[in-house]
Assembly symmetry: C2
Homo-oligomer: 190 residues x 2
Amino acid sequence: MARAGLAAERVVRAGAELADEIGFEQVTPSELARKLGIKTASLYSHVKNAHDLKTRIALLALEELADQASAAIAGRAGRDALRAFADTYRDYAFQHPGRFAAARFRLDADTAAASAGMRHSRMMRAILRGYELPELQETHAVRLLGSVFNGYVELEMAGGFSHSAPSSDQSWTEILDALDSLLRNWPAPS
Amino acid sequence: MARAGLAAERVVRAGAELADEIGFEQVTPSELARKLGIKTASLYSHVKNAHDLKTRIALLALEELADQASAAIAGRAGRDALRAFADTYRDYAFQHPGRFAAARFRLDADTAAASAGMRHSRMMRAILRGYELPELQETHAVRLLGSVFNGYVELEMAGGFSHSAPSSDQSWTEILDALDSLLRNWPAPS
DNA sequence: TAAGTTGCCTAAAAGCATTAGGCAAACGTA
DNA sequence: TACGTTTGCCTAATGCTTTTAGGCAACTTA
């Protein structure tokens, strides 16, 4: 018997590709069915509904991103690790804009808890270990880094930095240096 | 004659309220018509289509936010101004989640150029003047601040920081202090 | 080969966005 | 005060979309 779940995964993977082609927002059952050459109703044997489809694409993207980031920081520490991790995010966003948008899809609490999202924060903590911050500050720093990475890439992809000097690449490098410097000189708690 | 545009503005304002009630994504012509007690088709005399409706709500939110931020930083400088500006963003997001989401709606280049988005970056530059960064670094810093504010509030609203210590309020304060410290000790360009 | 599963199908209900054409009331003007 | 114009709504209709239900042929496994 062709195992259940296998086909569903192929469908989700096609959904991820579609997201990169037309944008995550535009991924709908009907559009995906069109891409797969089947009737829209047939999708519903693989996926519960439109929201479920998007959730599964999000989970796929989150995992892919975690895999790449994990590979990128292996064997690195401090500034190098920070840079490698951050670049992984940014590169992934440009290579797979639809998947990256999917990774930012708002999951309900349970799904999020079971997602690769946790791997992401664990990796950030691993990087921060090289900076020897007190534990409380480390959490603040994780939150700061997450905010910057997500925020920067989102603004950049929205075209916020495109028609003005200096180049976005330059700002990115400069900002990562600044963050590295900040992490080595984190101010005492107020 | 009842001036054209007046009614359209009332419609958009109702759309903004609706966004806060049910979420910006869920604001559609049919839903808004329901709220206004008119037929869906009637909306199309005030608004070109669904995308136009969302764009107008976005512009409204952007302006509102700029007004509040401008009032908040008046008479302040340095750390105080930074804090006031940042808090305005965060408070606005919590008081008007739908409008805030609208403010992040991706506008096409022309519309964005004519929007209050420019006021936002001008205000950030005004704040940064208090830190006396070289001009190039100032642009990098503007981009960093924009990334952090947007990124942090988005993650926070997505529930990213809710079920773990320390509290999000604490991280926010700590992160703003860290940014203030960073701006006063921005590393030399690499 | 028999039984069960899978992956697709058609059919149909309900809802949405959008266009077209119409009508009554409000308005500024002569 | 009567007139033409504008406004703000309406109904009707088209062609999408999501989702549920029921069916059928092919393939898998025992």
